[in-house]
Protein backbone atom coordinates (compact mmCIF):
# COMPACT_ATOMS: atom_id res chain seq x y z
CA UNK A 1 0.00 0.00 0.00
CA UNK A 2 1.15 3.45 -0.75
CA UNK A 3 1.32 5.14 2.61
CA UNK A 4 2.98 8.50 2.69
CA UNK A 5 1.87 10.35 5.76
CA UNK A 6 5.02 12.39 6.34
CA UNK A 7 4.71 15.84 4.76
CA UNK A 8 7.76 16.91 2.85
CA UNK A 9 8.23 20.51 3.98
CA UNK A 10 6.78 22.30 6.94
CA UNK A 11 6.75 26.10 7.22
CA UNK A 12 7.29 26.27 10.96
CA UNK A 13 7.38 23.45 13.43
CA UNK A 14 5.52 25.26 16.17
CA UNK A 15 2.76 26.97 14.24
CA UNK A 16 -0.70 26.31 15.71
CA UNK A 17 -1.76 24.80 12.40
CA UNK A 18 0.71 22.00 12.80
CA UNK A 19 0.36 21.55 16.53
CA UNK A 20 -1.08 18.03 16.23
CA UNK A 21 1.92 17.06 14.11
CA UNK A 22 4.37 18.22 16.72
CA UNK A 23 5.07 14.97 18.60
CA UNK A 24 5.58 13.01 15.40
CA UNK A 25 7.90 15.61 13.90
CA UNK A 26 9.91 15.88 17.08
CA UNK A 27 10.43 12.13 17.29
CA UNK A 28 11.41 11.98 13.63
CA UNK A 29 13.86 14.83 13.97
CA UNK A 30 15.45 13.28 17.04
CA UNK A 31 15.78 9.89 15.39
CA UNK A 32 17.12 11.34 12.19
CA UNK A 33 19.68 13.39 14.07
CA UNK A 34 21.05 10.30 15.77
CA UNK A 35 21.32 8.59 12.41
CA UNK A 36 18.63 5.92 12.68
CA UNK A 37 17.78 4.02 9.48
CA UNK A 38 14.91 5.25 7.31
CA UNK A 39 12.48 2.45 8.10
CA UNK A 40 12.94 2.99 11.82
CA UNK A 41 12.23 6.69 11.46
CA UNK A 42 9.06 6.10 9.51
CA UNK A 43 7.84 3.34 11.83
CA UNK A 44 8.57 5.47 14.88
CA UNK A 45 6.79 8.38 13.25
CA UNK A 46 3.76 6.27 12.52
CA UNK A 47 3.82 4.87 16.04
CA UNK A 48 3.81 8.33 17.54
CA UNK A 49 1.07 9.49 15.18
CA UNK A 50 -1.08 6.49 16.04
CA UNK A 51 -0.35 6.98 19.71
CA UNK A 52 -1.36 10.62 19.50
CA UNK A 53 -4.65 9.78 17.81
CA UNK A 54 -5.51 7.05 20.28
CA UNK A 55 -4.40 9.17 23.22
CA UNK A 56 -6.40 12.20 22.16
CA UNK A 57 -9.52 10.20 21.52
CA UNK A 58 -9.21 8.10 24.65
CA UNK A 59 -8.96 11.33 26.61
CA UNK A 60 -11.93 12.69 24.69
CA UNK A 61 -13.83 9.51 25.54
CA UNK A 62 -13.13 10.01 29.23
CA UNK A 63 -14.24 13.63 29.05
CA UNK A 64 -17.30 12.66 27.04
CA UNK A 65 -18.46 10.17 29.61
CA UNK A 66 -18.45 12.92 32.21
CA UNK A 67 -20.04 15.54 29.96
CA UNK A 68 -22.71 13.09 28.91
CA UNK A 69 -23.69 12.39 32.49
CA UNK A 70 -23.74 16.03 33.42
CA UNK A 71 -25.71 17.08 30.34
CA UNK A 72 -28.24 14.31 30.80
CA UNK A 73 -28.52 15.36 34.44
CA UNK A 74 -29.16 18.99 33.59
CA UNK A 75 -31.88 18.01 31.16
CA UNK A 76 -33.43 15.85 33.86
CA UNK A 77 -33.34 18.69 36.39
CA UNK A 78 -30.58 17.34 38.53
CA UNK A 79 -26.87 17.90 38.95
CA UNK A 80 -24.56 15.31 37.47
CA UNK A 81 -21.55 13.81 39.24
CA UNK A 82 -19.92 16.54 41.28
CA UNK A 83 -18.23 14.73 44.14
CA UNK A 84 -15.04 13.49 42.50
CA UNK A 85 -12.96 16.60 42.11
CA UNK A 86 -14.08 20.06 41.18
CA UNK A 87 -17.33 19.71 39.23
CA UNK A 88 -16.72 16.00 38.95
CA UNK A 89 -13.76 16.35 36.62
CA UNK A 90 -12.06 13.36 38.23
CA UNK A 91 -15.13 11.17 37.79
CA UNK A 92 -13.71 9.44 34.66
CA UNK A 93 -10.59 8.65 36.66
CA UNK A 94 -12.74 7.16 39.40
CA UNK A 95 -14.67 5.17 36.80
CA UNK A 96 -11.46 3.93 35.27
CA UNK A 97 -10.11 2.79 38.62
CA UNK A 98 -13.38 1.05 39.34
CA UNK A 99 -13.34 -0.77 36.02
CA UNK A 100 -9.75 -1.83 36.42
CA UNK A 101 -10.12 -3.20 39.90
CA UNK A 102 -13.32 -5.14 39.32
CA UNK A 103 -13.24 -8.89 39.36
CA UNK A 104 -13.10 -10.41 35.93
CA UNK A 105 -15.86 -12.99 35.80
CA UNK A 106 -16.02 -15.39 32.87
CA UNK A 107 -19.09 -17.65 32.78
CA UNK A 108 -18.43 -21.38 32.96
CA UNK A 109 -20.19 -22.07 29.65
CA UNK A 110 -18.31 -19.36 27.81
CA UNK A 111 -15.75 -19.92 25.09
CA UNK A 112 -12.60 -18.71 26.78
CA UNK A 113 -10.62 -17.58 23.77
CA UNK A 114 -13.48 -15.88 21.98
CA UNK A 115 -14.71 -14.29 25.19
CA UNK A 116 -11.29 -12.72 25.62
CA UNK A 117 -10.96 -11.75 21.99
CA UNK A 118 -14.32 -10.07 21.52
CA UNK A 119 -13.67 -6.74 23.32
CA UNK A 120 -10.42 -6.35 21.41
CA UNK A 121 -12.18 -7.07 18.13
CA UNK A 122 -14.75 -4.41 18.95
CA UNK A 123 -12.25 -1.69 19.78
CA UNK A 124 -10.02 -2.52 16.82
CA UNK A 125 -12.30 -1.27 13.99
CA UNK A 126 -13.03 1.98 15.81
CA UNK A 127 -9.36 2.79 16.28
CA UNK A 128 -8.52 1.78 12.72
CA UNK A 129 -11.32 3.93 11.39
CA UNK A 130 -10.09 6.93 13.37
CA UNK A 131 -6.90 6.82 11.37
CA UNK A 132 -8.23 7.92 8.00
CA UNK A 133 -10.25 10.96 9.00
CA UNK A 134 -8.77 14.35 8.12
CA UNK A 135 -8.68 16.37 11.31
CA UNK A 136 -6.96 19.37 9.83
CA UNK A 137 -5.32 20.69 6.73
CA UNK A 138 -2.17 18.58 7.11
CA UNK A 139 -3.33 16.16 9.70
CA UNK A 140 -4.73 12.95 8.37
CA UNK A 141 -2.94 10.19 10.23
CA UNK A 142 -3.03 7.87 7.20
CA UNK A 143 -4.18 9.63 4.04
CA UNK A 144 -5.28 6.68 1.93
CA UNK A 145 -6.39 6.92 -1.64
CA UNK A 146 -9.34 4.67 -0.75
CA UNK A 147 -9.98 6.18 2.67
CA UNK A 148 -13.75 5.99 2.64
CA UNK A 149 -13.76 2.39 1.48
CA UNK A 150 -11.30 1.53 4.23
CA UNK A 151 -13.60 3.18 6.75
CA UNK A 152 -16.62 1.19 5.65
CA UNK A 153 -14.63 -2.03 5.45
CA UNK A 154 -13.39 -1.85 9.01
CA UNK A 155 -16.77 -0.62 10.13
CA UNK A 156 -18.34 -3.77 8.77
CA UNK A 157 -16.04 -5.81 10.98
CA UNK A 158 -17.94 -4.53 14.01
CA UNK A 159 -20.95 -6.71 13.35
CA UNK A 160 -18.99 -9.92 13.40
CA UNK A 161 -17.26 -8.78 16.58
CA UNK A 162 -20.60 -8.18 18.26
CA UNK A 163 -21.69 -11.64 17.24
CA UNK A 164 -18.53 -13.12 18.73
CA UNK A 165 -19.13 -11.16 21.92
CA UNK A 166 -22.69 -12.36 22.17
CA UNK A 167 -22.11 -15.97 21.26
CA UNK A 168 -18.96 -16.49 23.25
CA UNK A 169 -20.77 -15.57 26.46
CA UNK A 170 -22.78 -18.74 26.19
CA UNK A 171 -26.05 -17.47 27.64
CA UNK A 172 -29.40 -16.33 26.33
CA UNK A 173 -29.40 -12.58 26.91
CA UNK A 174 -26.12 -11.90 25.13
CA UNK A 175 -27.18 -14.12 22.25
CA UNK A 176 -30.46 -12.32 21.84
CA UNK A 177 -28.82 -8.95 22.24
CA UNK A 178 -26.17 -9.82 19.69
CA UNK A 179 -28.76 -10.92 17.16
CA UNK A 180 -30.71 -7.72 17.60
CA UNK A 181 -27.56 -5.64 17.47
CA UNK A 182 -26.39 -7.29 14.27
CA UNK A 183 -29.73 -6.93 12.55
CA UNK A 184 -29.89 -3.30 13.59
CA UNK A 185 -26.36 -2.53 12.45
CA UNK A 186 -26.75 -4.30 9.13
CA UNK A 187 -30.05 -2.56 8.38
CA UNK A 188 -28.69 0.86 9.17
CA UNK A 189 -25.42 0.36 7.38
CA UNK A 190 -27.20 0.37 4.02
CA UNK A 191 -28.60 3.92 4.18
CA UNK A 192 -25.26 5.01 5.63
CA UNK A 193 -23.34 3.74 2.66
CA UNK A 194 -25.87 4.91 0.09
CA UNK A 195 -25.81 8.39 1.58
CA UNK A 196 -22.03 8.32 1.41
CA UNK A 197 -22.31 7.11 -2.18
CA UNK A 198 -23.89 10.39 -3.20
CA UNK A 199 -20.91 12.29 -1.83
CA UNK A 200 -18.49 9.96 -3.60
CA UNK A 201 -20.35 10.47 -6.85
CA UNK A 202 -20.23 14.24 -6.59
CA UNK A 203 -16.65 14.44 -5.37
CA UNK A 204 -15.39 11.82 -7.78
CA UNK A 205 -12.91 10.40 -5.29
CA UNK A 206 -12.77 8.05 -2.33
CA UNK A 207 -9.99 9.92 -0.59
CA UNK A 208 -11.27 11.79 2.45
CA UNK A 209 -8.79 14.70 2.49
CA UNK A 210 -9.70 15.38 -1.13
CA UNK A 211 -13.44 15.33 -0.34
CA UNK A 212 -12.86 17.97 2.33
CA UNK A 213 -10.80 20.11 -0.02
CA UNK A 214 -13.59 20.01 -2.58
CA UNK A 215 -15.95 21.59 -0.05
CA UNK A 216 -13.97 24.79 0.28
CA UNK A 217 -15.20 28.16 -0.85
CA UNK A 218 -18.35 30.10 -0.22
CA UNK A 219 -21.51 30.71 -2.22
CA UNK A 220 -22.85 34.26 -2.22
CA UNK A 221 -19.90 35.26 -0.05
CA UNK A 222 -21.09 33.79 3.22
CA UNK A 223 -22.80 30.42 2.69
CA UNK A 224 -20.13 27.72 2.92
CA UNK A 225 -19.92 25.23 0.06
CA UNK A 226 -20.34 22.25 2.33
CA UNK A 227 -22.26 19.27 1.07
CA UNK A 228 -24.94 19.77 3.64
CA UNK A 229 -25.86 23.14 2.14
CA UNK A 230 -27.28 21.49 -0.95
CA UNK A 231 -30.73 19.85 -1.08
CA UNK A 232 -29.45 16.34 -1.70
CA UNK A 233 -26.70 16.93 0.82
CA UNK A 234 -29.18 17.98 3.46
CA UNK A 235 -31.23 14.82 3.03
CA UNK A 236 -28.18 12.60 2.76
CA UNK A 237 -26.59 14.31 5.74
CA UNK A 238 -29.69 13.84 7.85
CA UNK A 239 -29.86 10.18 6.87
CA UNK A 240 -26.18 9.75 7.68
CA UNK A 241 -26.78 11.41 11.04
CA UNK A 242 -29.65 9.11 11.96
CA UNK A 243 -27.76 6.06 10.75
CA UNK A 244 -24.71 6.99 12.76
CA UNK A 245 -26.85 7.09 15.89
CA UNK A 246 -28.08 3.61 15.04
CA UNK A 247 -24.63 2.33 14.17
CA UNK A 248 -23.23 3.44 17.47
CA UNK A 249 -26.11 1.78 19.34
CA UNK A 250 -27.12 5.01 21.05
CA UNK A 251 -30.52 6.15 22.23
CA UNK A 252 -33.10 6.07 20.66
CA UNK A 253 -31.65 3.07 18.89
CA UNK A 254 -29.97 1.45 21.84
CA UNK A 255 -32.14 -1.64 21.97
CA UNK A 256 -29.10 -3.96 21.93
CA UNK A 257 -27.90 -2.50 25.18
CA UNK A 258 -31.02 -1.17 26.81
CA UNK A 259 -30.91 -1.95 30.49
CA UNK A 260 -34.62 -2.33 30.88
CA UNK A 261 -34.88 -4.65 27.91
CA UNK A 262 -32.13 -7.24 27.93
CA UNK A 263 -29.81 -6.24 30.75
CA UNK A 264 -26.82 -5.23 28.69
CA UNK A 265 -27.29 -7.27 25.55
CA UNK A 266 -24.09 -8.66 24.18
CA UNK A 267 -22.09 -7.07 26.96
CA UNK A 268 -23.97 -8.77 29.80
CA UNK A 269 -21.37 -11.35 30.76
CA UNK A 270 -18.45 -8.97 30.68
CA UNK A 271 -17.13 -7.24 33.77
CA UNK A 272 -14.25 -5.02 34.70
CA UNK A 273 -11.83 -3.95 32.06
CA UNK A 274 -13.49 -5.88 29.24
CA UNK A 275 -16.66 -3.93 29.84
CA UNK A 276 -14.62 -0.74 29.83
CA UNK A 277 -13.21 -1.78 26.45
CA UNK A 278 -16.73 -2.31 25.10
CA UNK A 279 -17.73 1.08 26.40
CA UNK A 280 -14.65 2.65 24.88
CA UNK A 281 -15.20 0.89 21.58
CA UNK A 282 -18.73 2.23 21.41
CA UNK A 283 -17.68 5.81 22.09
CA UNK A 284 -14.64 5.66 19.82
CA UNK A 285 -16.92 4.32 17.10
CA UNK A 286 -19.19 7.27 17.77
CA UNK A 287 -16.26 9.65 17.34
CA UNK A 288 -15.19 7.90 14.17
CA UNK A 289 -18.55 7.94 12.50
CA UNK A 290 -19.34 11.52 13.48
CA UNK A 291 -15.91 12.46 12.21
CA UNK A 292 -16.78 10.80 8.93
CA UNK A 293 -20.11 12.59 8.79
CA UNK A 294 -18.40 15.91 9.39
CA UNK A 295 -15.88 15.10 6.69
CA UNK A 296 -18.46 14.09 4.12
CA UNK A 297 -21.19 16.62 4.80
CA UNK A 298 -20.10 19.40 7.11
CA UNK A 299 -16.93 20.34 5.30
CA UNK A 300 -14.39 18.72 7.64
CA UNK A 301 -11.91 21.28 8.81
CA UNK A 302 -13.26 24.15 6.66
CA UNK A 303 -14.18 27.33 8.46
CA UNK A 304 -17.85 28.36 8.37
CA UNK A 305 -17.19 32.02 7.66
CA UNK A 306 -14.74 33.58 5.25
CA UNK A 307 -11.73 35.43 6.50
CA UNK A 308 -10.90 33.25 9.50
CA UNK A 309 -7.58 31.93 8.27
CA UNK A 310 -5.72 32.52 11.45
CA UNK A 311 -7.76 29.91 13.31
CA UNK A 312 -6.11 26.49 12.90
CA UNK A 313 -8.18 24.08 10.86
CA UNK A 314 -8.30 21.36 13.46
CA UNK A 315 -10.10 23.78 15.75
CA UNK A 316 -13.02 23.87 13.33
CA UNK A 317 -13.06 20.11 13.04
CA UNK A 318 -13.12 19.52 16.76
CA UNK A 319 -15.63 22.31 17.21
CA UNK A 320 -17.97 20.66 14.74
CA UNK A 321 -17.32 17.33 16.41
CA UNK A 322 -18.24 18.83 19.77
CA UNK A 323 -21.48 20.23 18.36
CA UNK A 324 -22.42 16.95 16.71
CA UNK A 325 -21.68 14.95 19.86
CA UNK A 326 -23.67 17.45 21.92
CA UNK A 327 -26.60 16.95 19.59
CA UNK A 328 -26.26 13.18 20.13
CA UNK A 329 -26.44 13.75 23.88
CA UNK A 330 -29.45 15.98 23.49
CA UNK A 331 -31.21 13.37 21.40
CA UNK A 332 -30.38 10.72 23.94
CA UNK A 333 -31.94 12.82 26.67
CA UNK A 334 -35.10 13.44 24.69
CA UNK A 335 -36.35 10.40 22.83
CA UNK A 336 -37.60 7.06 24.11
CA UNK A 337 -36.19 3.85 22.81
CA UNK A 338 -37.67 2.45 19.59
CA UNK A 339 -38.84 -1.14 19.40
CA UNK A 340 -37.10 -3.62 17.16
CA UNK A 341 -39.94 -3.76 14.66
CA UNK A 342 -40.28 0.01 14.56
CA UNK A 343 -36.52 0.21 14.04
CA UNK A 344 -36.54 -2.22 11.12
CA UNK A 345 -39.56 -0.67 9.51
CA UNK A 346 -38.00 2.75 9.74
CA UNK A 347 -34.74 1.56 8.18
CA UNK A 348 -36.13 -0.47 5.34
CA UNK A 349 -39.29 1.42 4.44
CA UNK A 350 -38.30 5.01 5.05
CA UNK A 351 -34.56 5.46 5.05
CA UNK A 352 -33.53 3.27 2.14
CA UNK A 353 -35.97 4.81 -0.35
CA UNK A 354 -34.91 8.28 0.72
CA UNK A 355 -31.26 7.31 0.50
CA UNK A 356 -31.75 5.86 -2.96
CA UNK A 357 -33.44 9.11 -4.00
CA UNK A 358 -30.44 11.18 -3.00
CA UNK A 359 -28.38 9.50 -5.70
CA UNK A 360 -30.26 10.80 -8.73
CA UNK A 361 -30.79 14.09 -6.89
CA UNK A 362 -27.05 14.46 -6.39
CA UNK A 363 -26.38 13.57 -10.00
CA UNK A 364 -28.96 15.98 -11.39
CA UNK A 365 -27.77 18.73 -9.06
CA UNK A 366 -24.14 18.39 -10.08
CA UNK A 367 -24.85 18.15 -13.79
CA UNK A 368 -27.20 21.13 -13.81
CA UNK A 369 -24.81 23.20 -11.73
CA UNK A 370 -21.88 22.38 -13.97
CA UNK A 371 -24.01 23.31 -16.93
CA UNK A 372 -24.67 26.65 -15.31
CA UNK A 373 -28.38 26.20 -14.52
CA UNK A 374 -28.26 26.89 -10.79
CA UNK A 375 -31.91 27.81 -10.34
CA UNK A 376 -33.13 24.84 -12.36
CA UNK A 377 -31.04 22.59 -10.15
CA UNK A 378 -32.90 23.82 -7.08
CA UNK A 379 -36.25 23.60 -8.81
CA UNK A 380 -35.74 19.99 -9.84
CA UNK A 381 -34.00 18.46 -6.85
CA UNK A 382 -36.08 19.98 -4.07
CA UNK A 383 -39.41 18.47 -5.22
CA UNK A 384 -37.64 15.25 -6.15
CA UNK A 385 -36.67 14.87 -2.51
CA UNK A 386 -39.50 16.58 -0.73
CA UNK A 387 -42.50 14.92 -2.34
CA UNK A 388 -41.53 11.29 -1.67
CA UNK A 389 -40.61 12.24 1.88
CA UNK A 390 -44.01 13.73 2.54
CA UNK A 391 -45.70 10.73 0.93
CA UNK A 392 -43.69 8.29 3.06
CA UNK A 393 -44.35 10.33 6.18
CA UNK A 394 -48.07 10.47 5.55
CA UNK A 395 -48.24 6.74 4.84
CA UNK A 396 -46.32 6.02 8.02
CA UNK A 397 -48.55 8.25 10.08
CA UNK A 398 -51.70 6.68 8.69
CA UNK A 399 -50.61 3.08 9.00
CA UNK A 400 -48.90 3.30 12.32
CA UNK A 401 -51.24 5.55 14.21
CA UNK A 402 -52.88 3.63 17.07
CA UNK A 403 -56.48 2.60 16.52
CA UNK A 404 -59.12 4.57 18.38
CA UNK A 405 -60.05 2.72 21.51
CA UNK A 406 -63.64 1.73 22.11
CA UNK A 407 -64.59 0.46 25.52
CA UNK A 408 -67.16 -2.21 25.81
CA UNK A 409 -68.12 -1.74 29.42
CA UNK A 410 -67.39 1.88 30.16
CA UNK A 411 -70.18 4.41 30.09
CA UNK A 412 -69.42 6.54 27.01
Amino acid sequence: MNLSAIPSATPSLFSPELLPRLPQRLVEIILQSIGAPEWLVSIAGFGVAAGTVVGVFAGAFALLSLIERKTLARVQNRIGPNRAGWFGILQPVADGIKMLTKEDIVPAKAEKLLHLLAPILIVLPSILALGVIPYGREWTPVPLELGLLFFFAVGSMTELSIFIAGWASGSKFPMLGAMRAISQMVSYELPLMIAGLGVIMVSGTLSLPRIVELQSGFHLGFIPAWNICTPWGLVAGLLFYICSIAEANRCPFDLPEGESEIVAGHMTEYSGFKYALFFMGEYLGLFAISGLGITLFLGGWQAPFPGLDFVPSWFWFFGKLALVIFSFLWIRATYPRVRIDQLMRFAWLCMIPMALLTLPAAGIWTLLNRGGHGLLAWLVTVPLLLVPWVIIAVIFNRRLAPATRTYRFADS
Binding site: M1, E159, L160, I182, L206, A403
Partner: protein, 169 residues
Protein backbone atom coordinates in the same frame (compact mmCIF):
# COMPACT_ATOMS: atom_id res chain seq x y z
CA UNK B 1 7.50 -12.49 -0.04
CA UNK B 2 7.81 -12.76 3.73
CA UNK B 3 4.20 -11.70 4.07
CA UNK B 4 3.21 -14.39 1.59
CA UNK B 5 5.12 -17.02 3.52
CA UNK B 6 3.46 -16.01 6.78
CA UNK B 7 -0.02 -15.60 5.37
CA UNK B 8 -0.40 -18.72 3.29
CA UNK B 9 -0.03 -21.29 6.10
CA UNK B 10 -2.37 -19.22 8.25
CA UNK B 11 -4.99 -19.18 5.53
CA UNK B 12 -4.57 -22.91 5.03
CA UNK B 13 -4.95 -23.62 8.73
CA UNK B 14 -8.01 -21.42 8.98
CA UNK B 15 -9.62 -23.03 5.95
CA UNK B 16 -8.84 -26.53 7.18
CA UNK B 17 -10.24 -25.65 10.57
CA UNK B 18 -13.37 -24.30 8.94
CA UNK B 19 -13.93 -27.65 7.30
CA UNK B 20 -12.76 -29.84 10.16
CA UNK B 21 -14.36 -28.35 13.24
CA UNK B 22 -17.38 -30.04 14.72
CA UNK B 23 -19.21 -27.01 15.99
CA UNK B 24 -20.70 -24.97 13.16
CA UNK B 25 -20.13 -21.57 14.75
CA UNK B 26 -16.43 -22.26 15.18
CA UNK B 27 -16.27 -23.35 11.57
CA UNK B 28 -18.05 -20.22 10.44
CA UNK B 29 -15.73 -17.96 12.41
CA UNK B 30 -12.66 -19.74 11.06
CA UNK B 31 -14.05 -19.29 7.57
CA UNK B 32 -14.40 -15.59 8.28
CA UNK B 33 -10.82 -15.55 9.48
CA UNK B 34 -9.55 -17.21 6.33
CA UNK B 35 -11.48 -14.72 4.21
CA UNK B 36 -10.07 -11.82 6.20
CA UNK B 37 -6.56 -13.16 5.75
CA UNK B 38 -7.27 -13.43 2.05
CA UNK B 39 -8.14 -9.76 2.06
CA UNK B 40 -4.84 -9.03 3.76
CA UNK B 41 -3.12 -11.06 1.05
CA UNK B 42 -4.71 -8.92 -1.63
CA UNK B 43 -3.64 -5.77 0.18
CA UNK B 44 -0.09 -7.02 0.45
CA UNK B 45 -0.05 -7.80 -3.24
CA UNK B 46 -1.08 -4.25 -4.02
CA UNK B 47 -4.72 -4.71 -5.03
CA UNK B 48 -6.09 -2.13 -2.59
CA UNK B 49 -9.60 -1.89 -3.88
CA UNK B 50 -10.16 -5.61 -4.19
CA UNK B 51 -8.69 -6.23 -0.78
CA UNK B 52 -10.90 -3.72 0.98
CA UNK B 53 -13.98 -4.81 -0.94
CA UNK B 54 -13.19 -8.43 -0.10
CA UNK B 55 -13.03 -7.48 3.54
CA UNK B 56 -16.21 -5.46 3.44
CA UNK B 57 -18.24 -7.97 1.48
CA UNK B 58 -16.98 -11.26 2.82
CA UNK B 59 -16.23 -10.50 6.42
CA UNK B 60 -18.81 -7.80 6.82
CA UNK B 61 -21.69 -9.34 4.93
CA UNK B 62 -21.22 -13.00 3.98
CA UNK B 63 -19.76 -14.11 7.29
CA UNK B 64 -22.49 -12.25 9.17
CA UNK B 65 -25.07 -13.91 6.94
CA UNK B 66 -23.65 -17.36 7.61
CA UNK B 67 -23.51 -16.75 11.31
CA UNK B 68 -27.02 -15.34 11.40
CA UNK B 69 -28.47 -18.29 9.53
CA UNK B 70 -26.69 -20.59 11.97
CA UNK B 71 -28.32 -18.82 14.86
CA UNK B 72 -31.75 -18.87 13.37
CA UNK B 73 -31.78 -22.46 12.19
CA UNK B 74 -30.23 -23.62 15.44
CA UNK B 75 -28.19 -26.72 14.53
CA UNK B 76 -28.25 -29.77 16.77
CA UNK B 77 -25.78 -30.45 19.50
CA UNK B 78 -22.23 -31.55 19.16
CA UNK B 79 -22.55 -35.29 19.65
CA UNK B 80 -25.13 -35.46 16.92
CA UNK B 81 -22.87 -33.55 14.58
CA UNK B 82 -19.91 -35.76 15.33
CA UNK B 83 -21.99 -38.91 14.87
CA UNK B 84 -23.15 -37.74 11.48
CA UNK B 85 -19.62 -37.58 10.13
CA UNK B 86 -18.49 -40.24 7.66
CA UNK B 87 -16.18 -42.85 9.10
CA UNK B 88 -13.27 -42.54 6.73
CA UNK B 89 -11.79 -39.64 4.89
CA UNK B 90 -11.24 -41.50 1.57
CA UNK B 91 -14.44 -40.36 -0.23
CA UNK B 92 -13.52 -36.79 0.62
CA UNK B 93 -10.04 -37.15 -0.80
CA UNK B 94 -11.45 -38.85 -3.89
CA UNK B 95 -13.69 -35.84 -4.51
CA UNK B 96 -11.02 -33.26 -3.79
CA UNK B 97 -8.18 -34.67 -5.90
CA UNK B 98 -9.67 -33.97 -9.35
CA UNK B 99 -10.58 -30.42 -8.36
CA UNK B 100 -7.10 -29.88 -6.99
CA UNK B 101 -5.59 -31.24 -10.20
CA UNK B 102 -7.65 -28.86 -12.33
CA UNK B 103 -6.68 -25.94 -10.11
CA UNK B 104 -2.97 -26.73 -10.18
CA UNK B 105 -3.07 -27.16 -13.94
CA UNK B 106 -4.82 -23.82 -14.44
CA UNK B 107 -2.56 -21.92 -12.08
CA UNK B 108 0.56 -23.33 -13.68
CA UNK B 109 -0.59 -21.98 -17.03
CA UNK B 110 -0.73 -18.38 -15.72
CA UNK B 111 2.27 -16.21 -16.53
CA UNK B 112 3.28 -13.83 -13.78
CA UNK B 113 4.77 -10.46 -14.80
CA UNK B 114 8.53 -10.48 -14.23
CA UNK B 115 8.92 -7.10 -12.53
CA UNK B 116 7.57 -7.33 -9.00
CA UNK B 117 5.75 -4.02 -9.42
CA UNK B 118 2.30 -3.56 -7.95
CA UNK B 119 0.14 -3.63 -11.04
CA UNK B 120 -2.68 -1.49 -9.77
CA UNK B 121 -5.62 -0.74 -11.98
CA UNK B 122 -7.11 2.63 -11.24
CA UNK B 123 -10.57 2.72 -9.77
CA UNK B 124 -11.88 4.65 -12.70
CA UNK B 125 -10.93 2.03 -15.27
CA UNK B 126 -12.36 -0.65 -13.05
CA UNK B 127 -15.66 1.18 -12.71
CA UNK B 128 -15.89 1.98 -16.38
CA UNK B 129 -15.13 -1.62 -17.35
CA UNK B 130 -17.69 -2.92 -14.89
CA UNK B 131 -20.49 -0.84 -16.31
CA UNK B 132 -19.68 -0.92 -20.02
CA UNK B 133 -17.91 -4.13 -20.96
CA UNK B 134 -19.33 -6.29 -18.21
CA UNK B 135 -22.63 -4.49 -17.83
CA UNK B 136 -24.79 -7.53 -18.78
CA UNK B 137 -23.20 -9.60 -16.02
CA UNK B 138 -23.74 -6.82 -13.46
CA UNK B 139 -27.37 -6.38 -14.50
CA UNK B 140 -28.02 -10.11 -14.41
CA UNK B 141 -26.53 -10.24 -10.95
CA UNK B 142 -28.72 -7.36 -9.86
CA UNK B 143 -31.85 -9.09 -11.13
CA UNK B 144 -30.82 -12.29 -9.39
CA UNK B 145 -30.21 -10.53 -6.11
CA UNK B 146 -33.50 -8.68 -6.30
CA UNK B 147 -35.32 -11.94 -6.96
CA UNK B 148 -33.59 -13.53 -3.99
CA UNK B 149 -34.51 -10.63 -1.75
CA UNK B 150 -38.13 -10.62 -2.81
CA UNK B 151 -38.31 -14.37 -2.41
CA UNK B 152 -36.82 -14.21 1.07
CA UNK B 153 -39.17 -11.43 2.08
CA UNK B 154 -42.18 -13.36 0.82
CA UNK B 155 -40.95 -16.52 2.47
CA UNK B 156 -40.47 -14.90 5.85
CA UNK B 157 -43.63 -12.82 5.86
CA UNK B 158 -46.30 -13.49 8.44
CA UNK B 159 -49.91 -13.70 7.25
CA UNK B 160 -51.37 -10.23 7.41
CA UNK B 161 -53.76 -9.68 10.35
CA UNK B 162 -56.54 -7.13 10.52
CA UNK B 163 -55.91 -4.50 13.19
CA UNK B 164 -57.94 -5.79 16.11
CA UNK B 165 -59.89 -3.73 18.56
CA UNK B 166 -57.64 -3.63 21.64
CA UNK B 167 -60.47 -4.30 24.09
CA UNK B 168 -61.56 -7.43 22.29
CA UNK B 169 -58.92 -9.78 23.70
Amino acid sequence: MIALLILTPLILFAALGAVWKARPVHAALLLALSLALNAVLYLVMGADFIGLVQFMVYVGAVAVLIVFSLLITRPGDEAEELARRPRSVLPGIACVLPVLAVLVFTVSKVTVPESGSTASISLETLGKALFTTHAPAVLALAVLLTAVMIGAALFAREPAKKPQNPSDS
